[in-house]
Amino acid sequence: MTTSERFGSARSVHVDAIIETIARAVATDRATTLAATLADLGASGAFDNVSLFAAPGESRYSRARLWADPAGHFAVVCMTWLPGQGSAVHDHAGRWGAELVVHGTMRETSYRLSERDARGRVRLVRERETPLHAAQIGVVLPTVDIHELRNDGPELAHTVHVYSSLVDACTMFTPGGDGWWTLAPVSLTYDA
C-alpha cells in the first residue's frame, strides 16, 4: 500500500473542504476514524499553507483557532512551536480528539492518574514518551488524556488539533516536591 494508492494524488484543499471532511469524521464519534482522516488530510497537503498557523511567540507556543463548529461539536486549533517550547502537563476536560504533526518533531509524554488524595491532589505515573514526527498522530481520549507536548527538534513545529467540543478549558498539573501534583483549571487563549 503506497500513499498514492490510499489517497489519490496530492491536491490542495481549501479550509471549507478541510472542515467538511473533519466534521464527517467527528460525526462517526470515533477517535480512530478522526485520526485516520486527519492523517489523510495531512498527506494530501491540506495543512501545508503556513498562513493557517499563528506566528511563533517568544514567551510560549502560539495557538490559532482555525474553526469553531457552530453546533459546538468540534474545534480545530493550529499550533506553532519554537524549538524547545512545550505545554504544561494538562488534560482535555473530558474531550476527545486527535493531534497531527504537520512540520517538525514533537515529543508527547503521557501520564496516567494513579491516586487522588483528600486534598484533591493526584499522583501521576509517567507512562511513555512518544516522538511524533511530521505526519504522525496523537490521540486524546479520556481517561488517557493527560500529557505534555514539546517541540523536540531543531526546527519550528506546526501541529493541528481537533477536539470534540468548543470548551477552551482544561486542567493543568503542577508537580509538588513530594510526588503529589496539584491541579489548576486554566482557560485557553488564542493568538490568531
Binding site: M1, T3, R6, D29, R30, A31, T32, T33, L34, A35, A36, L38, A39, A71, G72, H73, G94, W96, A98, L100, R112, L113, S114, E115, R116, A135, Q136, I137, G138, V139, L141, P142, T143, V144, D145
Partner: protein
C-alpha cells in the same frame, strides 16, 4: 439441610465465580477443567500487556454484592488504580487466581478440581451422571455448563488446502496466531471487532511491522470507551427496540448526554426486552441491529483505540468494508479477494497470514464441544428457534426436547447467548452467578456418595 453437590463444567471466570458462591453457601463443588489454574479462561489468559480489559477497573469486581472488590484488591497488591482506568487482562487473571485460592480455602474438602473435560452428562432420577475425558464418572445433584465462549464461527469460504496451510489461523487465540513468521508479513484479519483489535495489538507486541488489513461486511470498528459515566436508566417510554434506538439517536444528536450512558443503562434491560420480542422481531434485530449494538456496547479501552488510531493514520492498518470471497492458496501465502461494500470493485490482498477474527459460533449445533454435542444428541439441550444458542429458562435451566426446564442441568455465562443478548461480560456473569447459586441450593439433594468417589459407570 442436606449438602448439595454441584458439578461445574469449565473453570474459567464464570465457573470459578459460581464455585466460590456455592462454597461460601456450604455446598460441595467439583470443577472439571483441564487447565491447572482456575479463573483465567480464554479471556484472561493472554499475557500481552497491550490486551486490556474492555471495561474500566471500577466495573470489574467479581462480586455483585461488593462493587469495589477489584479496586481494593489492586490497591492491596501494590497497584492502586483509579476506577476509570483500564487494567491489563493478565492482571485480571491474577485477580481471579487469588479468588480461586480463596475458594480452595473456603471449600476445604468440599471443593475438588478435576483436570479433565466433561464429555457427556445424563440426568437420572436421583443424580446427574457425568463422564470426563479422563474416563472418570461422577455423580452430582446438578451440572452447570460454564464452558465460556465458543470458538470463532468457521469461515466457510476456506478451501481445504488453505485451511491446512501454515498461513491460516482459525482463531486469534491459537498458539502463535499473532507471532508473525517475519516482521514484514502482510496479515489479513477476517473481522473488525474486539478480537481483531486484540490481534492487531498482539501482532505489534510480537514485533510485527508489516501491513495489516482488517475486513468485515460493514467495516465497523468498536467504539471507544470515553469515561466512567453512571449508566443512565433506560428510557421509561421505550416499549420496543426501535424506540430504544430512537432515544439513543436523539441523545447523541442533541449532544446533551453521552449515548454511552444510555447504552450502558440498557445493558440490564436489553435481555428483558429481547425475551419479550417475538421470533420475527428477534430475527430483524439480529440481522439489522445487533452489529451496531455490539460496536456501541462492546467498546475498546482508550489505550487500544490510541494504538489502533496511530496504525490507521500511518497506513499500516487498513480497514475494508466488504465481503471476503473464497480464499486461494498461493506459493507464499493466501490470496484474499474482497468484494468492496457498495462498490463494484474487488480488492485482492496477497497475505502471508490470515487470521479468523470473527465472533464466536452462536449456532450450538455447529459447535464441536463434546459436552454440548452429547447434550444435543440426548435431547437434554435443543437449539433455540433462531439457531443462536440453546433454549434456556430464565433461571439458567436447560430446556430439553420435551419442553420442560431441567432440575439438574444449567447454563452460565456465554452459553446462555441467544436466550440473553448480554451474557459474556463480568458485570452480567457476576449477577447470573448470584442468582444461579441461590437456585442451585434449592435443587433436590440426593447424591449421598462423597464427590471424590466415582460411582460405577451405568
Amino acid at each position: 439441610m442436606p449438602e448439595r453437590h454441584i458439578a461445574i463444567a469449565g473453570g474459567g471466570a464464570s465457573g470459578l465465580l459460581l464455585a466460590h458462591a456455592l462454597l461460601r453457601a456450604g455446598a460441595r463443588v467439583t470443577i472439571v477443567e483441564p487447565r491447572a489454574t482456575l479463573g483465567a479462561g480464554l479471556a484472561y489468559s493472554t499475557t500481552c500487556p497491550l490486551h486490556l480489559l474492555n471495561a474500566p477497573a471500577g466495573r470489574m469486581s467479581a462480586f455483585a454484592d461488593d462493587p469495589d472488590h477489584f479496586l481494593r484488591w489492586l490497591a492491596a497488591h501494590g497497584t492502586p488504580t483509579e476506577p476509570t482506568a483500564f487494567v491489563a487482562r493478565s492482571r485480571y487473571g491474577e485477580y481471579l487466581t487469588s479468588i480461586a485460592d480463596e475458594a480452595r480455602l473456603l471449600g476445604g474438602d468440599r471443593f475438588e478440581h478435576r483436570r479433565s473435560r466433561v464429555t457427556d452428562a445424563a440426568s437420572g432420577a436421583d443424580a446427574v451422571r457425568i463422564r470426563t475425558t479422563a474416563g472418570e464418572t461422577l455423580a452430582a445433584d446438578a451440572l452447570v455448563v460454564a464452558i465460556g465462549n465458543a470458538k470463532p464461527a468457521r469461515w466457510s469460504l476456506v478451501p481445504d488446502d488453505v485451511r491446512a496451510s501454515a498461513a491460516f489461523f482459525d482463531s486469534a487465540w491459537e498458539d502463535d496466531a499473532t507471532v508473525p513468521a517475519t516482521p514484514e508479513d502482510t496479515v489479513v484479519l477476517l473481522g473488525t471487532g474486539l478480537t481483531a483489535v486484540d490481534a492487531v495489538l498482539g501482532l505489534r507486541h510480537n514485533g510485527h511491522r508489516g501491513p495489516i488489513v482488517m475486513v468485515s461486511r460493514r467495516g465497523l470498528l468498536p467504539h471507544e470507551h470515553r469515561q466512567l459515566d453512571r449508566p443512565a436508566a433506560g428510557s421509561p417510554l421505550a416499549t420496543s427496540l426501535g424506540q430504544v434506538i430512537a432515544s439513543v439517536r436523539r441523545s447523541r444528536s442533541s449532544n446533551e448526554s453521552d449515548w454511552r450512558t444510555i447504552i450502558d443503562g440498557l445493558r440490564r434491560e436489553i435481555n428483558d426486552r429481547w425475551e419479550a420480542l417475538d421470533l420475527t422481531e428477534q430475527r430483524r434485530f439480529v440481522r439489522h441491529l445487533l452489529p451496531y449494538w455490539n460496536v456501541h456496547r462492546h467498546r475498546m479501552a482508550p489505550e487500544a483505540a490510541k494504538a489502533i488510531a496511530l496504525l490507521l493514520a500511518d497506513g499500516t492498518l487498513r480497514m475494508i468494508a466488504g465481503r471476503t470471497q473464497t480464499l486461494e492458496a498461493i506459493p507464499d501465502g493466501i490470496r484474499v479477494p474482497i468484494a468492496v461494500r457498495g462498490r463494484d470493485e474487488t480488492i485482492v490482498v496477497d497475505a502471508q497470514r490470515v487470521i479468523n477474527c470473527s465472533g464466536p459460533e452462536h449456532d450450538v449445533s455447529a459447535r464441536t464441544n463434546h459436552l454440548l454435542r452429547s447434550l444435543l444428541a440426548s435431547g437434554a439441550m435443543v437449539p433455540n428457534p433462531l439457531r443462536i444458542g440453546a433454549r434456556i429458562a430464565s433461571d439458567g435451566a436447560l430446556i430439553g426436547a420435551d419442553g420442560t426446564p431441567s432440575e439438574q442441568l444449567f447454563a452460565l455465562g456465554p452459553v446462555r447467548y441467544g436466550t440473553l443478548i448480554e451474557t459474556t461480560a463480568i458485570p452480567e456473569i457476576r449477577e447470573q452467578v448470584q442468582l444461579l447459586a441461590e437456585r442451585l441450593l434449592r435443587v433436590p439433594a440426593t447424591v449421598l456418595a462423597p464427590a471424590g468417589v466415582p460411582l460405577s459407570d451405568g
